[in-house]
Symmetry: C2
């Protein structure tokens, strides 16, 4: 177990805790007090660490996600069911107006969602929260997001669909979660650079005045 | 205060708590035990609720973000300083390899970041976490993200830059945070629809045999 700790940068008490909690499968017993662990344990521990450290999931959410990874029948199911686990339930029902705007967005893009898919209510609730703060999200911005995410999803899903079903299911879940910080970091870099370019452009026009 | 609670869907004890903690500015005293509150209090409470409920910030992080909103000199500063507050410090330094990949991505896109900008390390660390799990993020995906986020940032920043500086500063912070769930929901909708289209296409090809 000391070797396992060294290979995963985790402490022995932490690994014992994950074993007790059933997040990590037991090693093979060798003698009365020793067990042997293999690469599958290393991979699993790195996955747990990534879900908690990088994706900042709470341990009970991480547990639910790991169960999806273990049980997914194929990569297509894994995408949908992982999303279902990861969507926090909305505390307040969204307004009819925002629900209608979400439906219009789906229609404009030829997208469908099952009626009980929680993404619909989540997106509508996020629009409500912004409009309560006086920050209306116009359709131009929603359509810009939709076009951008279509090109993103095409590349993301193409990679997953080429793999064998088990690896693909695992990657669907990991990728959904762990690529979010990558995408959002790049969004912020783009925002800062766009803002600076716009400020510099105005300053130059004023100077030329 | 009962009226304030009704207008914001918050409980009176919660509002008293925000007053004690200094997140909400005091009302105007009218008599010994009563205070009067105005629209500025309603707006502030809705903002606090949005940061904690929709953006899922912890209260100490929400407090730091509110301080940025209150102190931002202009919308350009607000974008950068809000990001700085919102980036969680990395627990482990990123690998040189990932840092080099981030720099190459910046160079390919004509982007710059100050050397101490935490986004650089955060993005590199997220790439490390994925590669430790055997999920290599190739440059094609990074470039797809960069192109998508450029078109997104152009529309987002254009809206902000048209406003007066104070409103713009507030919107820069709110927009960065509260538009993230909107963008990520749309990404998941796009992923599910792309996955289904790909599965259906394969099934149809198999059936035609």
């Amino acid at each position: 177990m000391a070797e396992l700790a060294a290979r995963t940068d985790l402490s022995v008490p932490t690994i014992k805790y994950y074993l007790r909690e059933g997040l990590l499968h037991p090693g093979q017993a060798v003698g009365a007090t020793r067990s042997s662990y293999d690469d599958s344990h290393v991979r699993r521990l790195r996955l747990i660490r990534a879900l908690t450290d990088v994706a900042h999931l709470r341990l009970d959410t991480a547990r639910a996600v790991l169960a999806e990874v273990d049980n997914a029948a194929n990569w297509h199911d894994a995408v949908g069911s992982a999303h279902r686990r990861l969507v926090a339930p909305v505390e307040q029902p969204p307004s009819d107006d925002s629900l209608a705007r979400v439906q219009a967005l789906l229609d404009r893009n030829g997208w469908t969602l099952l009626p009980d898919n929680p993404l619909r209510e989540n997106l509508a609730r996020a629009l409500d929260a912004l409009s309560e703060l006086g920050q209306l999200v116009d359709d131009e911005l929603l359509d810009t997001y939709a076009a951008a995410m279509k090109s993103v999803a095409r590349v993301e899903i193409r990679g997953i669909a080429q793999e064998d079903p088990e690896t693909a299911a695992q990657h669907a879940v990991i990728g959904t979660l762990l690529l979010e910080p990558v995408l959002l970091s790049i969004r912020r870099i783009a925002q800062q650079n766009t803002a600076r370019a716009l400020m510099d452009g105005r300053a130059a026009r004023t100077a030329r005045g």
